[in-house]
């Protein structure tokens, strides 16, 4: 018995060594944590970074995220916070009334605080909305000349559909002055500029209590699978009413109850508990073609630029049979459903747009602030100007950089940080300036009315 303290001390040391070994070698496999997060690497120490303490800070960050058994430690604490206090430790997941889970940005939007992600000035935000709507109207007109229809689908946000369960602002916000909201500003702007849009969000608000199934799930951030089915069925009818290119008809089967599927409980998964709470069963409905698909050449091609709400549509609809192709550019960045491209930047944008029959900008109310993710201005420039015109602007900007040592140094530092050449960093910077503010470099785009200029590919089309 007198050896017990010695054994326990040695056991304690062994446990610590096990934790270190787990961090280095992953000797015991652990259930992975859910969600998207950046995996940090242990930085290489250097005299300068050790002396100024920056290496130590990075090493601590690395350890915090990667120490041995961190998955189990996180789940244990999260389960405690959830089981005892019904609280989420993940700031991205907020717990509202009756166990409804909300993604943070929906709560910010509901409490009119979303503006602060972009600017402190309401006027600046409203000007941004106006600018984007105006650009979109010009793009719509230009694409219409080529027989391509662009439209916006405003999708529902959970705060819009279930406002009564939204978490209170006092707990999470510092009582900021309310700012303008995209979901209120954009429909009015689209009406003013004549932009094609369908307000699925408003439709959901109006019909929420009239339908026998939940439009958004309790534990997910997106519309429910069944809601997305009925919604996209209507969106396709809208598409054809403004565009004309025919899409094969579909039938929607009878709704049925089933255990919650992905992504109907994605927020619950994001809590990273030991046991993910089981939400209520949800409704689903199967979609089938009502007519033969026919030759793919007869079907329209569609490009979808948008947020993650389109995933529900892709799970439920036979997109290969409805469209010649359906490119999905996730936030105008990662490209899906095209084996030849994995990023939107890899496409010849003008050629792709001219070939498409439909372009859908698909954003929920909370993401509408980033409508298009710069797609609209990129498309305007590419359709109106050739690469040589854009290169001329780049060359002019490069001359400005050469004349400004501070700017040049900034770009050199960026290049060093990202491990790319100075020229690559310079081009990235120039493209950022050109495509976020094209009117400064192509004055014709700033003028009222539709620009007359077209790129040579457009003229050949």
């Amino acid at each position: 018995m007198h050896k017990v303290p010695k054994i326990l001390c040695l056991a304690t040391m062994a446990l610590f060594l096990l934790v270190m070994l787990q961090e280095r070698r992953q000797i015991i496999s652990m259930r992975e944590l859910k969600g998207a997060y950046t995996v940090t690497d242990l930085p290489k120490p250097a005299f300068r970074t050790l002396a100024d303490g920056s290496w130590q800070r990075e090493a601590e960050k690395y350890l915090r995220a990667n120490h041995g058994f961190h998955e189990a430690a996180i789940r244990l604490y999260n389960q405690y916070a959830w089981s005892l206090f019904h609280q989420s430790t993940n700031v991205q997941v907020m717990v509202g009334g009756d166990g409804y889970l909300y993604e943070r940005y929906f709560v910010e939007d509901f409490h009119e605080s979303r503006m602060y992600k972009y600017t402190e000035s309401p006027e600046e935000l409203l000007a941004k909305f106006d600018r984007e709507a105006s650009r979109l109207a010009k793009l719509q007109a230009i694409l219409a000349e080529a027989g391509t229809t662009i439209f916006v689908a405003i999708l529902p946000g959970k705060d819009q559909i279930y406002p009564e369960y939204v978490p209170r602002p006092d707990s999470y916000f510092k009582g900021r002055t309310p700012g303008p909201r995209a979901i209120e500003a954009y429909p009015a702007l689209f009406d003013r500029y004549g932009v094609h849009y369908t307000n699925v969000c408003q439709w959901f608000v109006n019909t929420r209590d009239a339908v026998p199934y939940p439009l958004m799930t309790k534990q997910g951030t997106h519309w429910s699978n069944i809601a997305s089915v009925y919604a996209f069925d209507s969106v396709m009818r809208f598409m054809q009413s403004v565009g004309g290119a025919r899409i094969p008809a579909v039938t929607v089967g009878k709704p049925y109850n089933a255990d919650t599927r992905e992504p109907d409980n994605d927020l619950a998964e994001l809590l990273n508990l030991i046991r993910t709470p089981r939400g209520p069963q949800n409704q689903y409905a199967d979609v089938a073609l009502a007519e033969p698909a026919g030759d793919s050449a007869s079907r329209p091609g569609i490009i979808v630029i948008g947020d993650s709400f389109f995933w529900n549509i892709s799970y439920n609809f036979p997109l290969d049979s409805l469209f010649r192709y359906c490119y999905y550019w996730f936030y105008n960045n990662t490209a899906y459903f095209d084996p030849q491209h994995d990023n939107a930047s890899q496409y010849d944008l003008a050629a792709t747009l001219l070939d498409a029959d439909y372009v859908m900008l698909s954003y929920c109310s909370g993401q509408l602030y980033d409508l298009g993710n710069e797609f609209i201005s990129q498309a305007l420039v590419r359709l109106c100007y050739d690469e040589c015109d854009i290169q001329a602007v780049r060359d002019s900007l490069a001359r400005n950089v050469d004349a400004d040592p501070a700017w040049r140094q900034q770009i050199a530092d960026k290049a060093a940080d990202q491990g790319i050449t100075f020229d690559q960093a310079l081009r990235t910077d120039c493209d950022y300036l050109i495509f976020t503010n094209p009117e400064s470099y192509f004055p014709e785009l700033a003028a009222d009315g539709i620009p007359a200029r077209r790129c040579s590919l457009f003229l050949k089309h």
């Binding site: 001390c9 041995g68 510092k174 994605d266």
Partner: protein
């Protein structure tokens, strides 16, 4: 580096203990010295040389002081050593404050202000300078002989368990433990481990939980805060401060015990005090001892008549307030406590523990912590007026449930020892050496608690998105 960090808990501490236990007894101070230097340099690489330089200089000054035959030289060298330590503290901690106030005065008089590059504060300077001063003065007074080895002295000053936040350990309290070969005992090591885990839990599971919310509340609109919210906020801060500071002391004491040291206790259920006098015998005990031994008594203590006693008391607390921070609110806080000490002396309160006075003493302490916490004096005054506004319009419990639960648990533990069984429980948890068999469940519980604390530290910083957005 802080005790409640992953780098300390999962790497530094286990590797240090492994090295320490494997080192032969006569070399353990060297291992401890190397680890302490790494500990300090990790977070403050700029200041390690300042720390070492001042420590080495102090060692040789004290040696010379002890060797000096004439009292005049002894006094001079003692004064020089103390002045050097205080000078370091004044420069790094108070120079910015002094310049700011001088510039405010110059500006008010229409004169040109001084340009000044702000000085950064080396971590732990308030503690290691005071610890150096105790060594100087105790050696001067003949209470102890100066240390023979420089390395032992540096270990005494900078050993990492108490370097950053105390307790302020007098050399006489651990002289034998530093210079003699410490015999490590497995049961002592375990007891130290349990104490460390208790301290970590107090900090991570109570203080940090409360702190996250109370910071937001106190950063809000104080002018329109209702009375209920104000009282809950200041009670929360009171608990946060106590559990954070006492938790850190528990961790320091636990670490010391693992290495074979017995550090003095720093807290003794201060909120069960029935007077401010008693409060300062229970709160930050080692600071109180320092102020008594090296400031109050040299000023004359209570030996020069009542008037001088009250002045001495008030002066000591004024300076004690200033020691806590370079800002006027700390000075006012010190003066606030000094006033109550004087009043209690006048009224004869504090000589005996009167249970009826526990609550009023707690309220006085709460108001004092409001002054301590809110640096902006107009905002502090507004907050205090809200406390006594009795305006409960708009009061609602809108903060996270975990915040209220942590406050409730903290209050329960803070006043537990008012009950006899509470005192027994405390003795069992903190001061009892367990029988071998009893170690097993306690060890299991401690390991689980430690893992849970690590989970808390990791989880509260882990907020993944559903998808990456661009």
């Amino acid at each position: 580096m802080v005790f409640s960090s992953h780098i300390f808990l999962l790497y530094f501490l286990p590797l240090f203990l492994l090295a320490y236990f494997l080192t032969p007894a006569k070399w353990r101070n060297i291992t401890l010295l190397a680890a302490s230097m790494l500990f300090y340099a990790w977070g403050a690489p700029d200041f390690i040389l300042v720390l070492l330089g001042s420590t080495v200089a102090n060692f040789y000054l004290v040696k010379a002081m002890h060797r000096a035959r004439r009292l005049r030289w002894k006094r001079l060298l003692c004064g020089l050593a103390v002045a050097a330590s205080l000078g370091l503290l004044v420069y790094f901690k108070y120079a910015n404050f002094l310049v700011e106030n001088a510039n405010a005065l110059l500006g008010a008089l229409g004169l040109e202000t001084m340009t000044w590059a702000k000085v950064l504060l080396p971590i732990g300077i308030s503690f290691f300078t005071f610890q150096s001063i105790t060594y100087v003065i105790d050696t001067y007074r003949g209470i102890n002989e100066p240390m023979r080895r420089l390395t032992d002295y540096i270990v005494y000053i900078i050993m990492f368990p108490q370097l950053i936040a105390g307790p302020i350990v007098r050399y006489t309290d651990i002289a034998g433990q530093i210079t003699a070969e410490r015999r490590l005992r497995w049961d002592e090591c375990l007891q130290g481990f349990y104490r460390f885990v208790i301290g970590l839990s107090k900090k991570v599971l109570i203080a940090d939980v409360i702190g996250r919310t109370v910071d937001t509340v106190l950063a809000g609109d104080i002018a329109s805060m209702d009375c209920g919210t104000a009282w809950i906020a200041i009670t929360a801060y009171t608990m946060q401060l106590y559990f954070d500071f006492s938790g850190y002391s528990d961790m320091a004491i636990g670490l010391g015990r693992m290495m074979g040291f017995r550090f003095p206790e720093n807290f003794n259920n201060p909120y069960t005090s029935a007077s401010i006098t008693e409060f300062w015998r229970r709160w930050h005990i080692t600071l109180g001892a320092f102020m008594r031994n090296y400031l109050y008594i040299p000023l004359g203590g209570n030996r020069k008549g009542s008037g001088r006693t009250y002045l001495n008391l008030w002066t000591v607390f004024l300076l004690s307030g200033l020691w806590h921070g370079a800002s006027w609110n700390f000075v006012i806080w010190g003066a606030y406590h000094g006033c109550f000490l004087v009043v209690e002396r006048l009224l004869g309160i504090g000589k005996k523990h009167n249970g009826w006075l526990v609550l009023p003493t707690f309220v006085i302490t709460l108001v004092g912590w409001a002054i301590f916490r809110i640096e902006d004096l107009p905002a502090c005054w507004r907050f205090i007026t809200r406390l006594f506004s009795f305006d409960f319009n708009g009061f609602a419990l809108t903060q996270p449930a975990q915040y209220y639960a942590a406050i409730a648990v903290a209050l329960a533990f803070s006043f537990l020892t008012l009950l006899p069984w509470g005192k027994r429980l405390e003795r069992k948890a903190f001061y009892t050496n367990y029988r071998p068999a009893a170690h097993i469940p306690v060890w299991l519980a401690s390991c689980l608690l430690l893992f849970f604390c690590i989970g808390a530290l990791t989880a509260t910083d882990f907020s993944p998105f559903i998808y990456f957005r661009f």
